[in-house]
């Protein structure tokens, strides 16, 4: 229990650190929203100063950070100048879309990687070489190229909708039809993400399985005549689970980065396109909110992996 509390405390401290850092960075950047007015000769410098005073921009940045952090804790992320509406609802909707995409892709990738990885680990000779070559080929195809080619294929074959999250007439459908519509739109981006993640996962699953298979306990179990399936499920998988659970936490960051790119290319209305548009529009409130959410996502994912590891691995429970 103390371990759990310590991990949670560590995670929240980390999140606070990230928020201080990103906020400080916005302040270090030269100029603010009112800087351009200074260039305008028809606006008196006193007016600009008054405006900045009213917006609170003349206070030192730690004070402003405290005000900002206070409102974030209340769920208020400020006001987007580009969209002309509060950031919080805007970001909430986008976060849902990213979670749906990333969650589906992670699930698909792991469901593929574990059986394939076990298969890969048990093969020797030419089959192993072939599987190695296939993973290497998958590994070197950039996500960017994969997404573009998938888009090309979708447009050519018309099997899947090319881009977006819902059809234009989606709002007129019933709930079931709308869910099916979103699912059809989800296949392509989630597929690209899963394929992008797969080779890295495969290599790790194989390495973990090989370690477990080559260890002494596995050999003695095999010698005692434990049937292969039972050996796999009861002995090898639990032993191989430890590095894989850590990998789950570590791979989340890569997944979110890949997801950003896929979202932009496929027009999936997630956090990625929002961040890119906000950067183009100099919309700092949105940039801050998205960065913070991405960090929160990653930290929570790592926390979940840590806690799962704590449940699974008695060595950690006894050690700490």
């Amino acid at each position: 229990m103390r371990y759990v509390l310590r991990r949670i405390l560590h995670g929240s401290l980390l999140l606070t650190g990230v928020s201080v850092l990103t906020f400080a960075f916005t302040q270090l950047a030269p100029g603010d929203y009112y800087s351009e007015m200074r260039v305008d000769p028809t606006v008196a410098p006193e007016t600009v100063d008054a405006l900045r005073h009213r917006a609170g921009l003349d206070r030192p940045w730690p004070v402003r950070y405290a005000a900002w952090a206070g409102s974030v804790l209340k769920g208020d992320f400020g006001y987007s100048l580009a969209y002309g509406e509060p950031v919080a609802p805007l970001v909430r909707e986008r976060l849902g879309a990213t979670l749906l995409l990333a969650g589906t892709a992670t699930l698909a990738a792991w469901l593929l990687a574990i059986p394939l990885g076990i298969c890969y680990a048990t093969r020797r000779g030419w089959q192993e070489a072939l599987a190695g070559a296939a993973t290497a080929v998958l590994l070197i195809i950039p996500d960017l190229l994969l997404a573009l080619v998938a888009l090309l294929a979708a447009v050519e074959t018309r099997w899947f909708p090319a881009g977006g999250m819902a059809s234009a007439d989606g709002s007129s459908m019933g709930v079931a039809a709308r869910m099916e519509d979103v699912a059809r739109h989800l296949v392509l981006p989630a597929g690209v993400l899963a394929i992008g993640m797969l080779p890295m996962l495969l290599r790790h699953v194989r390495a973990a399985m090989r370690d477990a298979m080559d260890s002494g306990f596995a050999r003695s179990a095999r010698a005692q005549g434990i049937p292969p399936l039972r050996l796999l499920v009861r002995h090898l998988l639990p032993a191989a689970a430890n590095p894989l659970v850590s990998l789950f936490g570590l791979s989340l960051g890569g997944l979110l980065s890949a997801s950003l790119l896929v979202e932009v290319i496929m027009g999936w209305p997630g956090l990625g396109p929002l961040l890119v548009d906000a950067i183009m529009a100099r919309d700092m409130a949105v940039v801050l909110a998205v960065a913070l959410l991405a960090a929160a996502f990653l930290i929570v994912g790592n926390l979940a992996a840590d806690l799962l590891l704590y449940r699974l691995d008695p060595r950690i429970r006894a050690g700490k």
């Binding site: 999140l15 290497a136 950039p142 989340l252 890569g254 979110l256 950003l260 991405a294 960090a295 996502f297």
Partner: protein
């Protein structure tokens, strides 16, 4: 350990880097040379007419496509005007077709490789350089320096890599010249990327500090400067090199991604990323698939570095036993 994968990987990498460096000799056209009557021309086909290699003239069709006109023939000329190969105007030679401005995609891929490959190399050098110094210092001296490095690096690792890159990019000026943009990219990617090499090097330096030969040298009265120079830095060299071979392709992709998103080097200077941005419009993509060429050009580079890093990693794990 078989040697041919490593050797062929090095050969491929050397060839591609040489092609990018020699772009001004190898490319038939300059990167910004526009042929306004040949917009979205398909890749030229080279024919053998019995005595020499020729390309046919292109005739624009009513529907927007192009058709070859076998009555007009232009011979390929080698080593003229300081370029490897070209044809005399009005003939055109587009090995990989042209883009929306009638610019030769092949030439632009070569020139674009300069920026994309250079960004990867320089940013990786910067990241590994900073990471190596900080990691060695933290691992060797320990104490508060180590604490600060480890806690500080956690902050960097708490953001997904691409989000971190974009967040830093967000606070810097948007519209800048190509040279500044290039330096900015190298600075951002390298400045954000030092964390992983630093943590890895720190771990190795930490274990090196307790090795018997280091303890023995210390016992003979060796000072920290001597220990670092003679033992710790050479000991961490393999891990730093492996990191570099992992990071270079990752950073090439980072440049491609940022330029693709319009946050890197801008037109008319080509990079593989901003060239792919044109392929993003899928009407362009279905009609002119040759616009994907810069993405394909990245594949052998990534393969080369993958083989390189796998070899380094395998060498490292053998060394342990």
């Amino acid at each position: 350990m078989k040697r041919w994968p490593l050797l062929s990987a090095l050969l491929v990498l050397a060839a591609i880097h040489a092609a990018a460096i020699l772009a001004n000799r190898l490319a038939p056209y300059a990167y910004d040379e526009q042929n306004r009557d040949c917009v979205y021309a398909p890749p030229s086909r080279v024919h053998w007419d019995g005595t020499r290699l020729v390309v046919y003239g292109l005739r624009q069709e009513a529907g927007g496509g192009y058709r070859e006109d076998p009555t007009r023939r232009y011979p390929l000329r080698f080593l003229v005007r300081g370029r490897l190969v070209g044809v005399d105007p009005p003939g055109t030679l587009f090995f990989l077709g042209t883009d929306g401005f009638g610019r030769d995609v092949f030439s632009r891929v070569l020139y674009g490789g300069r920026i994309s490959l250079m960004t990867g190399l320089l940013a990786a050098a910067l990241a590994v350089g900073i990471g190596w110094m900080l990691g060695t210092a933290a691992g060797f001296f320990g104490g508060w320096a180590d604490e600060v490095l480890m806690r500080g690096s956690e902050l960097f690792l708490a953001l997904p890599w691409l989000y971190l890159l974009l967040a830093v990019r967000a606070f810097l000026p948007l519209y800048i010249g190509p040279v500044q943009a290039f330096l900015l990219l190298v600075g951002i990617i390298g400045g954000v990327g030092w964390v992983r090499p630093a943590r890895l090097v720190r771990g190795v330096a930490l274990s090196a500090r307790e090795r018997p030969f280091v303890l023995a040298a210390r016992g003979f009265g060796a000072g920290p400067a001597y220990l670092l120079r003679r033992h710790i830095v050479p000991f961490t060299l393999p891990v730093a090199l492996t990191q570099a071979s992992v990071l270079i392709p990752q950073y090439i992709l980072a440049e491609v991604t940022l330029s693709f998103l319009g946050l890197g080097v801008g037109e008319p200077v080509p990079t593989w990323g901003n060239m792919l941005a044109e392929a993003r419009r899928f009407d362009a993509l279905t009609l002119h698939p040759w616009l994907l060429a810069p993405g394909l050009a990245a594949v052998p580079v990534l393969l080369g570095y993958l083989v390189l890093s796998d070899t380094f990693a395998a060498g490292g794990s053998q060394q342990k036993y």
